[in-house]
């Protein structure tokens, strides 16, 4: 274990410092602000690759640990560390930031460097969420991250942006304050804010249930799970392309990550008790939201609903192990559900990002997100049509793309628990194909729909570059997912061990 390394601190503070510098450079010096932002995004990505490289895959223990006393009167520490569950998301976050910076290069005309700066600072804060091992430190990053997103949607968003961004902020704020109360309660029980100490803390059943629901409120809003998902379509539709990408690729994952870091290990008995409830909510998200996606007229809304449906798979994978354990008395084979869910999270990061970028490419040209305003795009933008086809297929879970890996593993896990759960979950393969490909057909195929489409020009080099990178990632993970899953293995096994031990 390389415990003396400060890689994690660098991953948090380099983008934040970069953001401040970009802000200081401003727009007065032409493209200099953008270049600064890109440089810092690239540096962050390189450091995150070093993190991936130096990561020890054989242990479930926290690595790259940093521990400095921060607020001593409350025993709050600047305590960072990653395991196999959190590390991949830091890499994903740093990767997506580079994509977003390039994607916003010429598209954002108004206050460009402020836009870039907001994204960079958000990257640092999001890395902080994944790296924090102190509950208050986690909470600080978790809340602070809302500030740049609030500004991004509100300043660079669509016509109804103010409504969307305030709804986004208040929804997430409401959810997380209840988490704060449970953290304070845990502190008064244990006199520490260390998340890892909470994992070993004995808690009574009533308290566990209450804490579970407090956490659920915070994380379910973020995931988002049905029925607290309504902020997401609004936020996605109004957010600028980059905002949508980060929202879908990273922020949604934080809710799911919260389940793994907080809910499952801290209150395992409550999680086990309420597994049917959680699985039901997840299945409603998968099936019902899948149907909702089918009828959308707005492309961004459709992808937003598709995200909710895909995230339903993730929560399903997290709670399947409890059902398996209850039936067979062992966690044999349960890991595939959780690992599948994690793989789904990473893969969805790539695919949803790519889908929102595809819509962004169209939106930048015609300033419409309505499916009805397009048709026959393949005639004028053949290269774009090819990329979008690939990403649509991945979104539908085509084997060979990363979208297939996670869904398949979760369905396999579900089969061990209950046939009907697996059956309902598997409907997503049909529904997903239906809503994605139907949208694709209406937008891309057929005759050229109108004059606007006839005048479209194909992707430029910049757009081609980001699409190609994302396509490579989707394909790579689809064909050879082993490296990603290997990284998680030890930590997931340990987590499953932890949640079988009752804390009553």
């Amino acid at each position: 274990m390389s415990s003396d390394s400060s890689l994690l601190s660098l991953l948090i503070w380099i983008p934040i410092v970069g953001g401040l510098l970009t802000l200081a450079v401003g727009d007065r010096r032409g493209a200099f602000g953008r270049v600064t932002a890109l440089t810092f995004a690239m540096i962050t990505l390189l450091i995150s690759l070093a993190l991936w490289n130096g990561f020890d895959r054989t242990t479930h223990l926290m690595q790259f640990v940093e521990m400095v006393p921060w607020i001593e009167p409350f025993n709050i520490n600047y305590h960072l560390g990653v395991d196999g569950i959190s590390m991949p998301f830091i890499v994903l976050t740093s990767f997506i930031t580079v994509i977003v910076v390039i994607a916003g290069w010429e598209v954002i005309q108004d206050r460009n460097s402020q836009y870039m700066a907001a994204f960079l600072m958000m990257t640092g804060l999001m890395n902080g969420v994944f790296a924090a091992l102190d509950a208050i430190l986690f909470y600080v990053f978790w809340e602070a991250m809302l500030i740049p997103m609030f500004v991004i949607i509100g300043v660079w968003g669509g016509p109804n942006r103010v409504y969307a961004t305030i709804k986004f902020f208040l929804y997430t704020f409401l959810g997380s304050v209840f988490m704060l109360i449970s953290l304070l309660w845990l502190y008064s029980e244990s006199n520490t804010f260390s998340i890892l100490a909470y994992h070993d803390l004995k808690i009574g059943m009533t308290a566990q249930i209450l804490i579970f629901f407090a956490f659920l409120l915070a994380f379910a809003v973020k995931v988002p799970m049905w029925p607290v998902h309504t902020w997401l379509p609004d936020a996605h539709v109004e957010a600028p392309t980059g905002g949508s990408v980060v929202l879908a690729a990273i922020m949604l994952k934080m809710g799911a990550y919260g389940f793994l870091r907080f809910s499952l290990p801290i209150v395992p008995d409550a999680s086990s008790e309420l597994d049917t409830f959680m699985i039901t909510l997840s299945l409603i998200a998968v099936v019902y939201i899948g149907f909702v996606a089918l009828v959308q007229q707005d492309m961004k809304k459709l992808i937003a609903y598709s995200s909710i449906s895909h995230m339903g798979f993730v929560t399903l994978g997290f709670f399947i192990p409890f059902m398996i354990f209850k039936q067979s008395g062992s966690m044999e084979g349960a890991a595939i559900g959780v690992e599948g869910a994690l793989a789904q999270m990473i893969s969805h990061g790539f695919i949803s990002g790519a889908m929102f970028l595809s819509v962004g490419v169209l939106y930048d040209r015609l300033h419409s997100r309505q499916i009805g305003d397009y048709g026959g795009v393949a005639n004028t933008m053949p290269v774009f049509a090819a990329f979008m086809l690939f990403f649509s297929m991945a979104n539908a879970g085509l084997p060979g793309t990363s979208g297939f890996v996670g869904e398949f593993m979760v369905i396999l896990g579900a089969f061990r628990a209950n046939f009907w759960i697996a059956f309902l979950a598997a409907t997503t393969l049909i529904l997903g194909a239906a809503y994605t490909l139907w949208m694709y057909k209406r937008v891309v195929y057929g005759k050229v729909g109108n004059e606007g489409v006839a005048g479209l020009s194909d992707m430029n080099k910049r757009e081609f570059l980001i699409m190609a990178i994302l396509a490579a990632a989707v394909l790579g993970m689809g064909l050879y997912p082993a490296p990603v899953i290997d990284v998680m293995h030890a930590s997931v096994d340990h987590l499953l061990q932890q949640i079988t031990v009752s804390k009553l």
Binding site: W70, F169, F173, I181
Partner: protein, 484 residues
């Protein structure tokens, strides 16, 4: 009773400030209208000198002076330094605003200094009489400051309201004190505490004590501006010249916190089971009403007034937990709230011009385009008031809530965070106006706000709010050692 001159050194800060205030009053007589800045500088100098005197005399021990009528303890010293520094900041803020409105007069400064003197006496009070003396000195100075703008009907109305209601509150407080005196036979806070401990079994006396307590709590709630004794707050905040509002909304809150500590904790700690439920009701109502009504406001001063009411509710949460750590958290809350609140009104002072009061929220439309830096400062201040990390407001709320949870009042903590989410809405609306709305009308676009003393003060103020948010430990430790 013998007058002991050796004890005078312990009240050196008060003596210094009194002397300097008199000096400022005299100097101002000889200063010409155009060089009035001398008075302003002398005033700020006096405050800083007094702060140094307080700091130099800090001993870390509790001393009772003059037969127990005055106490000098670490809590008092820290609170006094906070009051002095924050008031200095308020004077820095108000300079230009006062000049534009021909309010830049000697009386303003001298009254401000006497008000601070009152706060210091209030903070150090260890007898009901001293406490009342300090309170009245503070309040009377503020009544007059509100009325300084004589030709403005709204200000005169506000001053009248403030005076009448304030006098009523003082009366209630005095009535309560007389009850306590009747039951315990003493005005000395320490002796009252002992008397209450020893006669807790006497039912008749207890009735008198509780009766007195109700009036004392009501009077205190009036001064704090807690619901249902809050009616004066919005009108006075809105009606007073903004510079005076800044003064009223910051340091006096710290003094009021000290008053709560002296009366309820030092004096009536034996009756905690009686006053705790009262404070729970006051806190709940303040948070609920303050946050909900603030949503309906279009005037920024009025909105901040209601927001202040809700913050008082939060502050009371720390006190009512009845633990030492709870008092520390309330003290931390009082100091940081005074700081943030001064910044919020400082923004109005910065943006106001001659003949233009930047007090409607809509006046701030599109500020981010015109003054991105000040927009960012306002963003920090607003998020701090909403309690969003990484600003100091978050830790203030965290500390207070932690205490509430630790004494098993989880439901109260849940209610508190629920109202703070409601509260977040109106702070967000201000940020929305600044960042998302397009500028319209002339308003602030007429003149460019470049670097000036007010702008620098505001930047410093907001930066301190942010810095304390990143590193709150030091101030928390100070509060800890001050109370513990």
């Amino acid at each position: 009773m013998k007058f002991d001159t050796s004890q005078l050194s312990a009240v050196a800060p008060e003596i210094t400030l009194l002397t300097l205030a008199c000096a400022v009053l005299l100097v101002d007589l000889f200063v010409k209208e155009e060089s009035r800045i001398i008075t302003g500088l002398l005033t700020m100098g006096s405050l800083l000198v007094t702060a140094v005197v307080v700091a130099a005399g800090m001993s870390g021990e509790t001393q009772l002076l003059f037969d127990g009528s005055i106490v000098r303890d670490p809590m008092g010293d820290v609170l006094k330094i906070a009051v002095l520094l924050i008031t200095t900041m308020v004077f820095l803020y108000s300079g230009d605003y006062q000049k534009d409105r021909e309010l830049y007069r000697g009386e303003y400064f001298v009254l401000g200094l006497f008000g601070v003197l009152g706060m210091m006496i209030l903070i150090s009070a260890h007898s009901f009489l001293t406490l009342y003396l300090g309170l009245e000195l503070m309040s009377l100075s503020m009544y007059v400051m509100v009325a300084l703008q004589r030709d403005e009907a709204r200000a005169s109305e506000a001053a009248m309201k403030y005076f009448v209601l304030g006098a009523l509150a003082s009366g209630m407080l005095l009535y309560g004190i007389s009850m306590l005196y009747g039951a315990t036979g003493s005005l000395d806070i320490g002796e009252v505490a002992i008397a209450i401990q020893s006669q807790s079994s006497n039912a008749d006396l207890n009735l008198v004590l509780v009766f007195g307590l109700v009036f004392v709590v009501s009077g205190t709630a009036f001064k704090l501006g807690a619901v249902p004794f809050h009616m004066w707050v919005p009108d006075v905040y809105q009606g007073a010249p903004t510079s005076v509002t800044t003064y009223i909304a910051s340091a006096p809150k710290i003094a009021a916190f000290a008053m709560v500590m002296r009366l309820l904790v030092d004096g009536l700690n034996g009756m905690i089971l009686d006053w705790q439920p009262m404070l729970i009701i006051l806190a709940l109502l303040s948070m609920a009403l303050g946050n909900v009504i603030a949503i309906a406001q279009t005037n920024l001063k009025r909105m901040l007034a209601y927001s202040g009411i809700s913050h008082i509710g939060f502050l009371l949460l720390g006190v009512l937990s009845g633990t030492e750590a709870g008092y520390e958290s309330a003290m931390f809350y009082a100091i940081t709230y005074a700081l943030t609140s001064a910044g919020g009104f400082g923004m109005i002072l910065l943006m106001s011009r001659k003949g233009f009061e930047a007090e409607e929220i809509s006046d701030y439309k599109g500020l981010a385009k015109r003054h991105p830096w000040y927009a960012l400062m306002m963003l920090i201040l607003m998020f701090s008031m909403a309690g969003v990390p990484p600003t100091v407001g978050f830790y203030a709320k965290l500390a207070v809530l932690q205490q509430v949870v630790s004494v098993d009042l989880v439901w109260l903590a849940v209610a508190a965070v629920f109202f703070s989410v409601i509260g977040a809405f109106y702070y967000l609306r201000v940020i929305k106006t600044i960042y998302f709305d397009k500028a319209e009308g002339e308003g602030m676009s007429v003149e460019n706000v470049d670097l000036n003393p007010v702008g620098i003060t505001l930047s410093l103020n907001a930066m301190v709010v942010l810095a304390l948010g990143l590193f709150p430990a030091q101030l928390m430790l100070i509060c800890q050692s001050a109370i513990g």
